[in-house]
């Protein structure tokens, strides 16, 4: 005969393992579907692939620790975006303090064009990043999230937990500022 206490204890451990396995599977799903989002969010701040992946990895580790409260997909992604953004800003500050090991040219996505086209594309990217840097943080996060993975206003609002109207107005303002800044930069370039 088995001791009832021992049986209950084994069942408890089994239940825990089962729940653990289910949670692990859920987390795996979230990891696969949100890894690009996290890396891009971090990259939009850091503009360095390695740093961005480091930050995204840490954000996932934190999400894993709090996963029992983040099992809902939308909640998980919103939490991940906010956490990654914050951690990326922290990393950026510490990087700047360490005398800028940032190399913008090395982080530009590889282009398929010729050398001349690659040069032009790098310059355009540089202008764009400068313009994005010129935005306030509120506008920047909105334009970043709407630009990566084709998020619409509703999705960005859900990610930032903001009203859609607020997101729409911020997105409009951000785009206007970017267009203006990029036009000015293009004009300066043509003058040079």
């Amino acid at each position: 005969m088995h001791d009832p206490g021992e049986v209950a204890s084994r069942l408890h451990v089994w239940d825990r393992l089962t729940v653990d396995r289910a949670l692990a599977q859920e987390f795996e799903t979230r990891l696969v579907e949100s890894s690009t989002l996290a890396v891009r969010v971090a990259y939009s701040v850091l503009r360095n692939r390695e740093d961005a992946e480091d930050v995204a990895q840490e954000a996932f580790a934190k999400a894993y620790r709090a996963f029992s409260q983040l099992r809902d997909r939308d909640r998980f992604r919103a939490w991940l975006v906010r956490m990654t953004w914050r951690m990326a800003l922290d990393r950026q500050r510490s990087n700047r303090r360490r005398a800028a090991r940032e190399q913008p040219d090395s982080s530009v996505p590889p282009s398929a064009g010729t050398d001349g086209n690659a040069q032009e594309q790098r310059e355009r990217a540089e202008y764009l990043w400068r313009a994005i840097d010129g935005l306030s943080e509120k506008l920047r996060v909105v334009i970043v999230l709407s630009s990566i993975q084709g998020h619409d206003v509703k999705e960005v609002a859900a990610l930032l937990q903001l009203p859609e109207g607020t997101v729409k107005s911020r997105l409009f303002a951000a785009r206007q500022q970017l267009k203006e800044a990029l036009s000015w930069m293009a004009r300066d370039r043509s003058i040079r």
Binding site: R16, V19, D20, L23, F27, E28, L31, V32, S35, T36, V39, R40, Y43, S44, R49, A52, E53, A56, Q57, E58, F60, A61, Y64, R65, A66, F67, S68, Q69, P109, Q121, R124, A125, L128, W129, I132, I143, V144, S147, I148, R175, L178, K179, E180, L182, S183, W184, A186, R187, I191
Partner: protein
């Protein structure tokens, strides 16, 4: 080129293309594997993920509070075990006209606690003295909260006499022949003798000789 503003503002589609190319990086192929490894090295992950630690912590705090507060509360509210002295007496017509010796004898009989009652008193701390209950037309119960520690045997008997006296309308109680009672211990106070301190006595002797 008049310097008043951009000559060719970017179109929306152009801006979208620029932004897509700027943000369009993909994580490296080993990124997900790195995250898995990182997550696998998390200590005690299942406990945190299952949210077990927080309830355990709350239960521990509640336990500590109970362990501290409840015994103190119980100590404060612990009832003092009462010693109930139930006296069932018989009030017969003409009881007050009895002679003092007859009354004293009856009282002595009443106060004679049988061994069973004494045992019951020790066990239940309740003393019940029943005096001819079948013949007690005016039976009454007078519970008294006494402490066995405080009351000595003499005090108990005196109290019983008082209770009976009150019940029978003899207040103040009639004098009871002392020889009928168990001899009460006399309160003796030894005369206080204060001996002089040796030092002072010696000084006095020296003074006397001088």
């Amino acid at each position: 080129m008049d310097g008043q503003g951009p000559q060719h503002p970017l179109s929306d589609s152009h801006l979208d293309r620029e932004l897509e190319s700027a943000f369009g990086i993909e994580p490296s192929p080993e990124f997900v594997a790195r995250v898995r490894t990182r997550v696998a090295s998390e200590p005690e992950r299942s406990w945190w993920r299952l949210g077990i630690v927080e309830p355990l912590f709350a239960v521990a705090i509640a336990g500590v509070v109970l362990a501290v507060v409840v015994p103190q509360w119980m100590r404060e509210n612990r009832p003092v075990p009462p010693v109930t002295l139930d006296v069932v007496s018989r009030r017969t017509p003409g009881a007050t006209e009895r002679s003092s010796s007859a009354g004293a004898r009856e009282l002595r009989e009443r106060l004679a606690v049988p061994p069973s009652a004494a045992r019951a008193f020790r066990e239940s701390r309740t003393l019940a003295i029943a005096v001819e209950p079948s013949q007690a037309p005016f039976a009454a119960e007078t519970p008294l909260q006494l402490s066995a520690v405080i009351f000595s045997e003499d005090e108990r008997q005196a109290l019983l006499a008082l209770v009976h006296a009150v019940e029978e309308g003899r207040v103040p109680p009639l004098p009871v022949a002392t020889e009928d009672f168990v001899a009460m211990r006399a309160l003796r106070i030894e005369p206080l003798v204060i001996e002089p301190l040796p030092q002072l006595a010696r000084l006095e002797e020296q003074g006397a000789t001088q």
